[in-house]
Symmetry: C2
Subunit: 315 residues, 2 copies
């Protein structure tokens, strides 16, 4: 994903994708609604394109068929030739790359909002790869100021790791990760919250396109360190579960010595790290298959430079 759009570049081509994971229903149903009634996605300077990213998984209300679509936007998968017999999500990633990319090219869409839900208590989490995405960091800041409730920023990029996500197809992008909501369920409160966040992000792009500059600011964000696995037997069976004192405490400080797991025997397991961390995606259903209980995050404060308005476009 590139960083700040260069001065003078309006954002004309914007997409809103839902159903990247087929059982995360807020995005699925918002996109289905917007495909029928796109007016909510229109602004003065552009109209965003709604897109259902994984229709087969959506139809079956499962996360994916063959592999996680949101991990399938790597060079290896996007250039793989075995299209007809290969995994469905690889073919789907290539189609999305055709539609909204090609990734890394000048032809790529300007921005993608990718809509997700989690069973974890992540509230209205804003997900991007790095604080170096100045444009998206400004959008996050705008959303935090203009919507209700906390919107923690989650930076998922690791040094040297290729960006694998759907939103990486566009020049810039933002994942909206709203929870808690069980997978396969549509909660009114979560749906309306997601709707408000998308609307606010579109408003921000519209303001920028209209010539608004945004000043520099400092902002708190959480940067991924590494996953924390569940306690497991050598054969991979769970030996315990998230401690009741940690459950639902996403983005709260976890200090060395704090309890993190309880075993079925009743024994407690304590966090053994050297420093305070901020767990995220605590007890997310989709990560059980990986054995991941939560992600360790560090809390950082970043100074984001100003965002200059684009030059007025030719009439």
């Amino acid at each position: 994903m590139s960083s700040t759009p260069s001065r003078g570049h309006q954002l004309d081509r914007v997409a809103v994708t839902g159903g990247t994971h087929g059982n995360e229903l807020s995005g699925v149903y918002l996109v289905k609604h917007w495909l029928q009634n796109p007016s909510e996605l229109q602004r003065g300077t552009f109209a965003a394109t709604p897109f259902l990213a994984n229709p087969k998984a959506t139809k079956r209300c499962i996360r994916y068929l063959s592999q996680d679509l949101n991990r399938s936007f790597t060079r290896t998968f996007l250039t793989s030739k075995e299209t007809q017999d290969g995994p469905y999500e690889v073919r789907q990633a290539q189609e999305i790359n055709q539609l909204f990319g090609p990734k890394g090219s000048a032809d790529a869409f300007d921005f993608i909002f990718d809509l997700h839900n989690t069973v974890s208590n992540m509230v209205a989490c804003l997900i991007l790869d790095s604080e170096e995405n100045v444009f998206t960091m400004h959008m996050c800041h705008y959303i935090q100021k203009h919507t209700q409730g906390p919107c923690p920023i989650y930076l998922y990029g690791l040094p040297g790791q290729e960006n694998y996500s759907l939103q990486s197809v566009a020049k810039n992008g933002l994942g909206l990760e709203l929870g808690p909501q069980p997978h396969g369920v549509l909660r009114a409160d979560v749906l309306s919250h997601m709707r408000a966040l998308v609307a606010c992000g579109l408003d921000f792009i519209d303001l920028f396109n209209q010539g608004t500059s945004f000043p520099a600011f400092d902002i708190v964000a959480y940067k991924i360190i590494e996953p924390m696995d569940f306690p497991q037997s050598p054969s991979g069976e769970l030996l315990g579960f998230v401690h009741p004192q940690l459950q639902d405490k996403d983005f709260f400080p976890l200090k060395p010595g704090d309890p993190i797991f309880q075993l079925f025997s009743g024994e407690e397991i304590f966090y053994e790290g050297d420093a305070t961390i901020y767990p995220a995606f605590i007890n997310e259903a989709a990560y059980y298959e990986k054995g991941v209980a939560f992600y360790k995050m560090k809390k950082c404060t970043f100074s984001i430079p100003p965002l200059e308005a684009p030059e007025a476009s030719a009439p």
Copy 2:
């Protein structure tokens, strides 16, 4: 399912089944734990047998492979001959009927606890077919008095309908339906609550076996009326979702004119019945495939006759 065990009949053969739905993890992991460490299921007068009811669905962390196991204990399925090529859950139902039945026979187990979770806010719901099960109603009353938090009683039998559930294989049975917990997730609070309910039910059987009689009482229970479907298009697409004022209000009164749905357009839908009902299983993920938004229940008070202690068994 028969009613009161006859006087003089101790309960010697008791089973605790989990994973009847493979993605309802409290029961799955409690049963797995008890298979390794059965001491929690032992009492002075008997030892309960833990059993994982749908191991293939459990392994894949899905509700079922071919059909809902907990709807597969009808005469038609239990006597079906197409065992090898037929649906997996039909074969599994027949095996369970061999192990803990045969259903309706003198050889059947005395009692089955069947462990379930729901994403709905059903708290610690106690499920049986009818208030005519005097023994199980006494157990419910005992559990309500000896555990913390509300334990609403849900009576699922409809007049003239054959009993289809796993617990119907035994002479008596009780379903424990704990929520809210997302499917595919293990929450510490829900797990420990379920553990306490099972322990309390086993204590009750032990007391009964030891010669305790229980006096008559009046008790509130909720009896099923019928399902309420989601608003849907002719092709079965959802047109809306559970109204935020109804969400999480399981077993609260719903009056004619109260809002029940919100459409994606923003329009509200109101309950049009003639009388106050008590919705249950509001917005349960597993019922989306049936288009069911909740079950309409009526609140009833029943007078339950005394339960006489069994005669002392021969030394």
